[in-house]
């Protein structure tokens, strides 16, 4: 008995990690949730936080829903065949599973399963759509129209096309983030090969007037591509109503696994494109390569779930967004919402706090996992191009914070986020000389700063 106790103590002492992270391994039951955690703190990148921060960055990615995980596991363990193997049961099973997922994805957007091509994510889908369509029609169509607030992959693909000799029009947006339909109408030329406008912006959350844009594209007979990675499963998407020719989708934004997405390519009237991935001709020849069966099943399950839960989630998230915004507005002034409040997806709230320095606000908010205006786009500290396209002032663009609310966010988390944000902003404003001047009534914009 005593020797057992000694050996177990020695084992415990040896297995304690000597590292930067100090934590205690605990049993995996509910009782563990209530046991003692005296010095449970995480030390990372020189910052000490007392526990895992609360996650409010749903636009960057979402946790995998347990029901989606469940759908992936069985198949991942047992149905491991290559879906393109035609000669044995393993291949047939895997192919069936992929087809079921295809139907699930197609149902969510109102398309036919034959129009869905699985890819490695929305970035690959965007690249395939933009470059593929233009390369196919390069003899007759030389012009692409997109907006200034698109996702980086679309803008970069357009820049690549410009280097190849195509012409690109980057439409400006109004101050509320929406595209001006008259400008779009005027920009369309006889040799326009593609219009690419994202449905829901990932930074500011505005929903573009998709039906009207689709109508304009139909009148002028131009294929309409949209990056709907942030839109599917969250707002009702119908490719027929919106007259969409190509649509990019991503799984990890709707509580699915990372590394899978899809491109919807319309068949009637047929949109033709040149594939980016050449090979054995899988996925209708548009995307060769073995289908990632497990991920695709997860994507299908996530879409199925999203269809069933859309209304319930929307109600919950809208309530939380109001709670967040009202909670912050009650205690602080000088809070600006970037982007239109009416035409917006409720899970995305991008706020700018006046007279506060952006980076210090983010450093203080270490117990809340949020994103700032510049995080997604560049490693430099430049404010994001989306906010600049909206016409937001430099100082306000630097202090923007994006709160992402999702299915798993709770009321208590929102209350805590409000408390922490208000505390941090008040602390920074107390230190800020600009805020003092504003309080005294001086107009900052008309100050003549003297040179020293």
């Amino acid at each position: 008995m005593a020797s057992k106790a000694i050996t177990s103590t020695i084992r415990r002492a040896l297995s304690k990690p000597h590292g930067v992270v100090s934590r205690r391994h605990h049993l995996s039951t509910a009782a563990a949730a209530a046991t003692d955690y005296e010095d449970e703190s995480i030390m990372m990148k020189g910052v000490r936080i007392s526990g895992r921060p609360l996650y409010l960055d749903m636009q960057a990615t979402t946790p995998i829903d347990p029901r989606v995980f469940d759908a992936m596991n069985d198949s991942g363990i047992n149905e491991y065949g290559n879906p393109h193997s035609r000669t044995h049961l393993y291949g047939w099973e895997a192919e069936n599973a992929v087809e079921v997922a295809r139907i699930q994805v197609a149902k969510l957007i109102g398309a036919s399963p034959k129009e869905i091509i699985f890819m490695s994510g929305a970035t690959e889908a965007n690249n395939t759509a933009v470059k593929g369509v233009m390369h196919f029609y390069k003899d007759t169509k030389k012009h692409v129209i997109t907006t200034q607030t698109e996702h980086k992959c679309v803008l970069d693909s357009c820049r690549h096309l410009q280097q190849e000799g195509f012409e690109v029009t980057y439409l400006p947006v109004k101050t509320d983030g929406l595209v001006d339909l008259e400008m779009l109408r005027e920009a369309i030329r006889p040799d326009t090969g593609l219009v690419s406008i994202m449905a829901v912006n990932n930074e500011i959350g505005v929903v573009q007037p998709m039906e009207e844009i689709g109508q304009i594209c139909k009148e002028h007979n131009v294929p309409f591509h949209t990056d709907a990675a942030q839109a599917i499963g969250k707002i009702p998407v119908d490719v027929k109503k919106w007259n969409i020719g190509l649509m990019s989708m991503s799984a990890h934004k709707i509580y699915g696994p990372k590394g899978v997405g899809a491109l919807f390519v319309r068949r009637r009237p047929r949109i033709r494109l040149e594939p980016l991935m050449n090979g054995g001709g899988q996925e209708r020849g548009l995307r060769s390569g073995t289908a990632a069966t497990q991920q695709i099943l997860g994507f299908g399950a996530a879409c199925d779930l999203a269809m069933k839960e859309m209304e319930y989630d929307e109600k919950w998230i809208k309530g939380l967004q109001e709670r967040l915004l009202n909670g912050i507005r009650e205690k602080l002034d000088g809070v600006v919402v970037n982007g239109s409040m009416e035409s917006r997806y409720s899970g995305n709230l991008n706020l700018s706090f006046a007279y506060v320095e952006g980076e210090s606000l983010l450093m203080g908010l270490k117990e809340v996992a949020v994103s700032s205006g510049s995080a997604c786009t560049s490693a430099s500290l430049e404010p994001s191009y989306v906010l600049r396209a909206l016409g937001v002032d430099e100082d306000m663009a630097h202090t923007s914070i994006r709160f992402g609310i999702g299915r798993f966010t709770t009321k208590e988390e929102i209350d805590k986020a409000v408390e922490l944000t208000v505390k941090q902003v008040v602390k920074l404003r107390e230190m800020s000389p600009l805020y003092e001047m504003v309080k005294e009534g001086i107009d900052i914009k008309n100050i003549q700063w003297s040179q020293h």
């Binding site: 934590r23 391994h25 605990h26 995996s28 039951t29 509910a30 563990a32 949730a33 955690y37 449970e40 703190s41 995480i42 936080i49 007392s50 526990g51 895992r52 921060p53 609360l54 996650y55 946790p63 347990p66 029901r67 995980f69 469940d70 596991n73 319930y312 117990e367 299915r407 798993f408 966010t409 709770t410 208590e412 988390e413 805590k416």
Partner: protein
């Protein structure tokens, strides 16, 4: 026709299972979704049998996923749980 006691015991079983998640967000979500789900389907009496069968299938998935998620608990407590003490 399912009886009231069967529905209640199913609801209780789901809530009991959901409490076993070591992850804060999943625990809270399961509790909220189960209660709201049972309340919403309470109104339409003709669809009760269908809803009951669906919930039973979901209970199987829930218990399996709780076991799976409990094998990989988070190594540090969530901020929400730390401050509650």
């Amino acid at each position: 026709m399912v009886s009231r006691s069967e529905v209640l015991s199913l609801c209780r079983a789901m809530l009991r299972a959901g409490r076993q998640y070591p992850h804060y967000n999943l625990r809270e979500y399961t509790k909220r979704r189960t209660l709201d789900g049972f309340r919403m389907n309470n109104t339409d009496q003709s669809k009760v049998n269908e809803a009951y069968a669906e919930a039973k299938a979901q209970l199987v998935v829930l218990e399996r996923s709780v076991k799976f998620h409990s094998l990989y608990p988070p190594k540090t407590k969530n901020i929400m749980e730390v401050k509650l003490q």
